[in-house]
């Protein structure tokens, strides 16, 4: 079973997959806390158009992915603030982008394989160059999140208060979406556009039901994400079935019992745990108590 590790493409897959799993877990937590899981899904679909367009132009799909997703995330930041508005408007753009992608694919005659790999992932087709690129980009993303993590978390839990404390809430939100866009681009390599959600949201969604302190949630999410990815590659490498399926199945398979058996996402309690990070003073704590 572990014999497959002698193959360089499996090694590449492992390295790329690991960094992607970590980035996805971290950003996924923020996506959930900010209620943006749909936006994550939408961005990946928009990425599809970019990737297909890139293929049409004869360029590597990941560049098209990145350009489209980053542009889209900027656009989403500017568009509607009201929750419902964001859903539908995001969805409209997403669907139009998918339509574009379909158009591009239909125009490009050698499309089937490329389309397949964009849609469903080809982690085992990752080259050494891709690994280096993914690794570097992943490091940059993690570094940025480490820097903006605290104020971002603050503004995710209590935007109004954060603003009065001088946190640039809107700017952080926009930066965050750009980070998500880039994360989606590299996650797509592992599981494909349609299944990004499983690796991006799955581990965090599971973790947030099990522990409450933000740092612990992220840590658990990382562990889960890495486990799914490693096991996925192992199982996929040893069977004729796709890696992306295994990762998705593991992600869902663990999420489902946790979801059914745990009491519920306690955002109030998460907020309380956040306070213990001593970012805020007793003023915020008092405000929380009043709302209880």
């Amino acid at each position: 079973m572990f014999a497959i590790f002698q193959y360089p493409f499996i090694q590449n897959a492992f390295i790329a997959g690991s960094i992607v799993a970590i980035v996805a877990a971290v950003l996924g937590y923020f996506l959930i806390v900010r209620g943006l899981s749909f936006a994550g899904h939408a961005l990946s679909s928009i990425g599809f158009a970019g990737a297909a367009g890139a293929v049409l132009l004869g360029v590597s799909p990941i560049y098209g992915l990145m350009v489209f997703t980053v542009t889209a995330s900027i656009a989403i930041s500017i568009l509607g603030r009201e929750i419902r508005e964001r859903d539908v408007a995001t969805g409209v753009i997403m669907t139009f982008a998918l339509g574009l992608g379909i158009l591009f694919l239909s125009l490009y005659h050698g499309y089937a394989e490329q389309a397949y790999s964009i849609l469903f992932g080809t982690i085992v087709g990752v080259s050494r160059d891709d690994v280096v690129f993914t690794f570097l980009l992943g490091l940059i993303l993690l570094a940025v999140i480490a820097i903006i993590g605290r104020p971002l978390l603050f503004s995710s839990f209590d935007a109004e208060l954060a603003e009065t404390r001088g946190v640039p809430v809107r700017a952080l939100g926009s930066i965050f979406l750009i980070l998500v866009a880039l994360a989606i681009s590299i996650t797509t390599q592992v599981v494909g556009i349609l299944l990004v959600f499983a690796l991006l949201i799955g581990p965090s969604a599971t973790a947030i039901r099990l522990v409450h302190q933000p740092l612990r949630v992220i840590l658990l999410a990382i562990i889960l994400g890495l486990t799914y990815t490693w096991l996925g590659i192992l199982l996929g490498g040893n069977s004729p079935w796709p890696v992306s399926f295994f990762i998705t199945a593991l992600s869902f398979g663990v999420y489902l019992p946790v979801r059914l058996l745990s009491k519920g996402v306690d955002s109030k309690r998460s907020a309380k745990e956040f306070e213990k990070l001593s970012v805020v003073d007793s003023h915020l704590a008092a405000k929380r108590d009043r709302h209880d």
Binding site: G35, R84, V88, F120, L194, F197, G202, F252, Y255
Partner: protein, 285 residues
């Protein structure tokens, strides 16, 4: 140009397209009202797995879609109380089922083009049998929507009051998801799994920006859906690009036009409303 209507596949395409457009316009109104656009997405992805799975089992893709989406609808309905908005449960089910679809696809590599048709729409290969099934489904959906209309709206907007009035809120939610599952399955025939949103959500969202009168909104929603579908099909027959692309582009266009009209027409009384009750004091009497 009228000559093309001699061909069966053209007639079938228009017939199926028109029926689906009407269904989508009507059901879509409630989808947008309830904020269940994401659930719609999830069901369409579930439909993908169902279609590919059905091909594996030798059944028709429509049957596979019906079965899988119905099961998923019941599952989602039972899981969440109202499943509105961007619930994680929906997204997780969505990716898992897509993963299943990927699995089936990799096993069943023979019919890659079939899968593409499910993903991107295959209105031009609709058979007369398909049309009959779609028509039957359409009649069923419309009748049921008409019967459930008032309590469904009530339960969507004010679930607690509705419950106190004896409306079976939870069961209606499941029933509506089932109707949505059916609508999604037939819509997939026209625009494919990835673009179901364009038919089911976008026209209704556009309409709901233009008016607050329920029946006017439903009418506009159906109209937009119809125009986009008919025009889209026509362009597809004249030109070389996929029908689903035209249809999606047209609905998106309508949506943004509606947004503009809305922004121009109604300056909001209160700009930012974190609480709907943040008030301006009444003028002194």
């Amino acid at each position: 140009m009228i000559d093309i209507f001699r061909h069966d596949f053209v007639q079938n395409a228009f017939l199926a397209g028109v029926i689906v457009a009407i269904i989508s316009g009507f059901v879509g109104y409630v989808v947008v009202l309830r904020g269940q656009a994401f659930a719609c997405e999830a069901l369409s992805h579930v439909g993908f797995a169902g279609a590919v799975g059905a091909a594996l089992a030798g059944a028709s893709s429509l049957e596979g879609m019906f079965l899988f989406t119905l099961l998923a609808a019941i599952g989602m309905g039972a899981l969440g109380k109202r499943l509105s908005g961007r619930d994680i449960e929906v997204g997780m089910v969505l990716s898992f089922v897509l993963g299943l679809g990927v699995l089936f696809l990799s096993i069943y590599t023979k019919n890659a083009t079939g899968a593409v048709g499910v993903l991107f729409g295959s209105i031009l290969s609709v058979t007369i049998n398909d049309v009959q099934v779609i028509l039957g489904s359409g009649v069923f959906i419309i009748i049921l929507m008409a019967v459930l209309f008032r309590p469904l709206l009530f339960a969507s907007i004010e679930p607690e009051v509705a419950e106190a009035r004896g409306v079976p809120v939870q069961r209606l939610s499941i029933l509506f998801l089932i109707l949505l599952a059916l609508s999604v399955s037939v819509a997939v025939k026209v625009v494919g799994v990835l673009l179901v949103f364009a038919l089911l959500v976008v026209p209704a969202a556009a309409a709901e920006h233009l008016t607050h009168r329920p029946w006017l909104a439903i009418t506009i929603s159906i109209l937009i859906s119809l125009i986009a579908t008919i025009a889209g099909l026509t362009f597809a027959f004249i030109g070389h690009w996929p029908a689903s692309f035209y249809i999606v582009s047209l609905t998106s266009l309508f949506y943004f036009i509606a947004l503009v009209i809305h922004a121009v027409r109604s300056p909001r009384r209160y700009r930012e409303l974190p609480h709907p009750s943040r008030e301006v004091l009444p003028p002194p009497v």
